[in-house]
Subunit: 340 residues, 2 copies
DNA sequence: CTGAAAGCGCTTACAG
DNA sequence: CTGAAAGCGCTTACAG
């Protein structure tokens, strides 16, 4: 492998000159530039990143921490986010170093420390549940942005998230527009998952703004699993007379559908259904399901762009940025109008 | 940030000694070891990876190239593979640097070159379609293993794949066991995707070993999309009298189901169905669908383990290894017996 | 417009 | 059992 010295020798210039033509860091005569470029070409020269990194303290690596478990459903989402991240990093000459917190806050801290050892130039974090107080100190002279999830206990940081509140508001408003008044909601345990909470709040706001009385029994809190989605749906169906159900998570929605099938409840004839998140199965389901779609790929792009911008600013940073991305209601065939 | 010199000073030893206690590369007296460890602790010392890498030419980074497009379905699969890879890399102190070829061979070559610049210590590649002749030279003194897909035009390399042929054989044998004799198959264009071809071959072998005549009209080749799965299924249903359908890919299966719904064809009453790949939607579909499951996470683990082993061997490598992982038939409710 | 040289933080023969 | 020193391949003041 040729190094910068070999190039300098072949081009008959100093290594400074070679370095400067590579990095464009000072003027080099056209002639010298040409000779250097030719030499690099001939020698198939590739700059040594380790040396660069040792000298400059920059690694051109960005650490990405995602919180995925074996649960396949969320995987698709984060894969799309990462695709977005990778796309813009590549475009800017950065690499993506991947870590997984497994949805465990202690593990997340560990991973961040490891990434720091690797001297990543910045971090993009989809945070696990739990207090993120440790982050401020740990990353005090590092740029980082959070994606998809606002970290708990860490106000005023850069975030790129979906507008889950607004999306839910849209979903429930849509149902209301169809004439529904008794609308159930399936969400996670309230107070445990910020994203689920946001979506729940959107539900509340839609009711409120439309002058519909909130009814405690219409909300079922269930953990993220097919089974608990099933149980929650069963409960709400047996104990109330809702005409529509809004499910805040894909996994729970699968449980809801399983219950409907077993109980012989037909969508949309017996109940209307809207789901948050547009996975491809919702499209081919019988009936195709009306969903709120979030732009996962775009979120990834935006978070990487924001991070790169922060890194360029070099501490001259202004206020933390909070990017809330619009969601879209994809109308399919899981909702019927209701005549009151 | 403290460096090795600071540690040496505080511990009253030479930097050689510090280095050797860090790496365990030569005997150091208990006393010195203790002092060094204490100093490292006090100074919160973290070895500089760039310096390590510059000196040793090893980066502790493993490049991973996956071939994903916007098509969400395959994303889940590769995410699981990566989870497996990341898990074993982490356990061994390595990091995962992620690249995406976007299913484009030229892009894949580009990505490999970039990863090489980063001086990754090894590569795990899920190859895109196309001739991989370039790999041998490009990676001549690098360890690499292929995962999920056997690279075209590159014999005798380490591979970890699912036994798609065997899985398909199981699927079709299962249908035959149920009494089916007229079994259709939906696969990709034959000759284009090795994995699809393998699955097609399993179909052929199952027929053959059971003395069932192969029938040209029972196979539909369609590109990977819901639409073409739809079209292929329509064709096969309109032109033949099959009683069972085996679909080799998840996306096409979605198209098949869409057609069945629209045409009013009931699964399993009118037709039995088996799908290759177990995504969670197949479980909650009406009816739940019988599938062939492949162990994506495990494949990731195995490929990383193999790579690490190769790297440890240091060229003393024996024959390339070809790991073919068992698949499993998950019986659900999409197949009925047929009485001949 | 360009070069010589210091130094980033390590590992590793070499020497004792 | 341990240390002094070279050197990995760069960037970047400094000097001219």
């Amino acid at each position: 492998m040729a190094n910068i010295k070999d190039v300098a020798k072949m081009a008959n210039v100093s290594i400074s000159t070679v370095s400067h033509v590579i990095n464009g860091t000072r003027f080099v005569s056209e002639e010298a530039t040409h000779k250097v470029k030719e030499a690099m070409e001939n020698l198939n020269y590739v700059p040594n990143v380790a040396a660069f990194s040792l000298r400059t303290k920059r690694s051109k690596n960005i650490g990405v921490v995602i919180p995925i478990t074996a649960d396949e459903t969320s995987n698709v989402f984060f894969m799309q986010v990462m695709q977005g991240i990778e796309t813009v990093l590549k475009k800017n000459g950065y690499f993506l170093v991947l870590s997984n917190s497994r949805e465990d806050i202690a593990c997340e801290e560990e991973e961040i420390k490891n990434l720091l050892k690797r001297q990543v130039d910045g971090l993009i974090i989809a945070s696990a549940r739990g207090d993120h107080g440790f982050v401020r100190e740990l990353l005090e002279d590092k740029e980082y942005v959070f994606v998809d999830r606002v970290p708990e206990g860490l106000p005023d940081v850069d975030c790129v998230i979906s507008d889950g509140e607004g999306g839910s508001y849209d979903a429930v408003s849509y149902l209301i527009g169809l004439g529904h008044r008794k609308i159930g909601v399936l969400c996670d345990i309230i107070g445990e998952y910020p994203n689920s909470d946001l979506r729940y709040q959107g539900y509340r706001r839609a009711l409120e703004e439309n002058g519909i009385l909130f009814c405690e029994q219409y909300v079922q809190q269930c953990r993220s699993s097919i089974e608990s989605g099933y149980a929650g749906t069963r409960k709400i169906m047996e104990e109330t007379d809702i005409t529509a159900l809004y499910v805040v998570s894909n996994v729970n929605a699968m449980g809801a559908l399983e219950y409907f099938r077993e109980a012989g409840i037909r969508v949309p004839d017996d109940i209307s259904l809207v789901i948050y998140d547009d996975y491809s199965w919702t499209k081919i389901f019988q009936p195709p399901i009306t969903v709120i779609r979030q732009e996962a790929f775009e979120m990834g792009c935006k978070s990487a762009e924001l991070l790169l911008r922060r890194m360029a600013e070099q501490g001259a940073a202004d206020k933390p940025e909070f990017i809330r991305m619009k969601t879209a209601l994809i109308e399919r065939k899981s909702c019927n109008p209701v005549h009151n």
